[in-house]
Amino acid sequence: MGLTTQAPSSTFSDETRTNASLTKFLHGLPGVDQVGADERAAMLSTRSIKTSAKAEGIDLAISMIDLTTLEGMDTAGKIKTLCAKAQRPDPFDPTTPSVAAVYGDKVAQAKSYLTGSSIQVAAVATAFPSGRASRAVKILDTSDAVAQGADEIDMVIDRGAFLEGRYMDVFEEIQAIKVACKNAHLKVIFETGELRTYDNVRRASWLAMIAGADFIKTSTGKVAPAATLPVTLVMLQAIRDFHNAGQRKIGMKPAGGIRTTKDALRYLVLVKETLGDAWLTPELFRLGASSVLNDLLMQRKKLQTGAYSGPDYVTVD
């Protein structure tokens, strides 16, 4: 899988001249009616994905997983087993996640355990998950991970600045992190659970996209609520609008709260019916989830054998 970074567009120079002009632009975007958005997401959740569609969806979902461990107690051993699982989740099937995601100081280890594999390494950075550190520290956090070989960086936006209305600070920070990424892909995490309103999520989406994000991502997974279907819908619609405005294709990643195959398939439906089949690829859509991998494997087993599987038949990494 080749991850190419694209140059951020320059056509928003007027809007991004000052905080006032950026505010005007973001606040001029159409509002989102919460009930309507929730209803649309709920209706799409009723799509019945069976037989061949389910099998396809499961394989697609597996390939889209950023297999993640982000714990204070991560050890070399834990990184090793994570990487082993990523390379071969099912001894009898070659489908694998695309990416292993770890904390910045574990990148080198992860890289070493993945030598010879096509699986890439993503690192969280910028004082993940809180984002509460100085710009300089966040840049260093990023370049450190990049230097260790990270292929992707998942940054968090400064929610405090966003909620204070200092959109320009958020914008410039994303730009600065993008520079520090060098050739690494940049995912920008909003922590939608802290932004609270869908209007904020739409504004954050546009802000991140014009600042140079390659992917926009819902959450760190450390705050509830994490990803939800309606929040994802709003972000996918922003990506659609950005693309319809002649801009590049941006990727999307919901993270946290995706536990079952059913959940995963619901996200794929959302992508399909909002952005179309072109976005149904790990290049443009990822699932930030780890526990769901085992459920995907068990569901696939059920499709193959006709019987419900159990946790003893999938591995604990």
Partner: protein
Amino acid sequence: MSFEYAPAPESTSIVKLKPAYGLFINGVFVDGEKTFSTINPATEAHLADVTEASAADVDRAVRAARVAFGSWSKMRGADRAKYLYRIARIIQERSRELAVLESMNNGKPIRESRDVDVPLVAAHFFHYAGWADKLDYAGLGANPQPLGVAGQIIPWNFPLMMLAWKIAPALAAGNTVVLKPAETTPLTALLFAEICQQADLPAGVVNIVTGAGETGRALVNHPDINKVAFTGSTEVGRYIAQAVAGTNKKVTLELGGKAANIVFDDAAIDQAIEGIVNGIFFNQGHVCCAGSRLLVQESIAETVLGLLYERMKNLRIGDPMDKNTDVGAINSAAQLSKIRELSDAGEAEGADRWSAPCTLPEKGFWFPPTVFTNVSQVHRIAREEVFGPVLSVLTFRTPDEAVEKANNSPYGLSAGIWTEKGSRILEMSSRLRAGVIWANTFNKFDATSPFGGYKESGYGREGGRQGLEPYLKVASK
């Protein structure tokens, strides 16, 4: 990867169709002289033979209702409530069966009958069960009395839901009923009759007489009914209003509409698009309150249309029994030909026609979701009810103009308003001459929410406290 949805059929085996059905009179099924065939409009397959009630049959039914009225009206409200609660519960228990049968006979997607129609049916019976012993609080004075026997005629677009809207309040208030379902959709009404038996509802309280226009006329004109309740076309509504003139029969009518769905430049655009789609393509547009005229502010018309066409490409038209179907079959050949006639007229009048690309099944009655743009008020497709998945798009410049155009119709059933500005919603809704106004939503129904029209869309309300009034005598002192 394409991730195409595989067929996801809901099994029809839960429905045990009989080869033939009689009339439900005085608590039992009785044969009649003539029968007619009822079909599945998605496949044109014959489903069952249904009896055509003659004038004599209608008379038998009214007599049974009159006799039953004696004890039913004198029963404690709390006891009437218990029968209605039983019916509500059994509807919930048999909800899957009812939803499947409804889709088979009507053509609407199973997802809609399962998630919208049948739950609302149960909710109406629950809501009115709770009124049966609280009529003193209905705002009609102390101890309001029922009218007697109600003759009720319902349409084919929401067969079971229309039945619930009619029967639940009538029974709660102490009336007994003779109901005629539409000739193309009799089956869920007949299953409802079985449910009345399961609930041990006293004989004669509910009577179901199947048939067509003749049967309906016999019922409306029967001398011993006290009330006529009708939902259907304005044309037939007019006939009924004329037929009961000079009698003591109370009448409520819920007729046609040509609702304006008004989208302002500051609307929450993605939700407005859903509202437009829902407004006209939900239930194949067979909805009296459908948002069949899109009134879009001229400054955003192009944007809205672009997003609308994109959205419509995701509509799945096909087998109603597939759980992923969004738009089902047109209910009958007759209705299909009406839709085609008006759509052809639209083209002839000079409007631009666009239909969502879709493959329609070979058998059955089908029409693709269609949009007409560059429509003017004078066009037939802006004035006449198509009652199909056909949207007419007009523009406006200012809120005043939107109000003027929206109200410029003999109809007045419903309207939609899409704007993020609260005061505008309230000013618009105070000026729109329509009985149901949806702001930033559409096609929302609830047992507690009164529904009905202004002008030629009819009179009387169904739902909520006000929905009791058509079935009670107002206290004289």
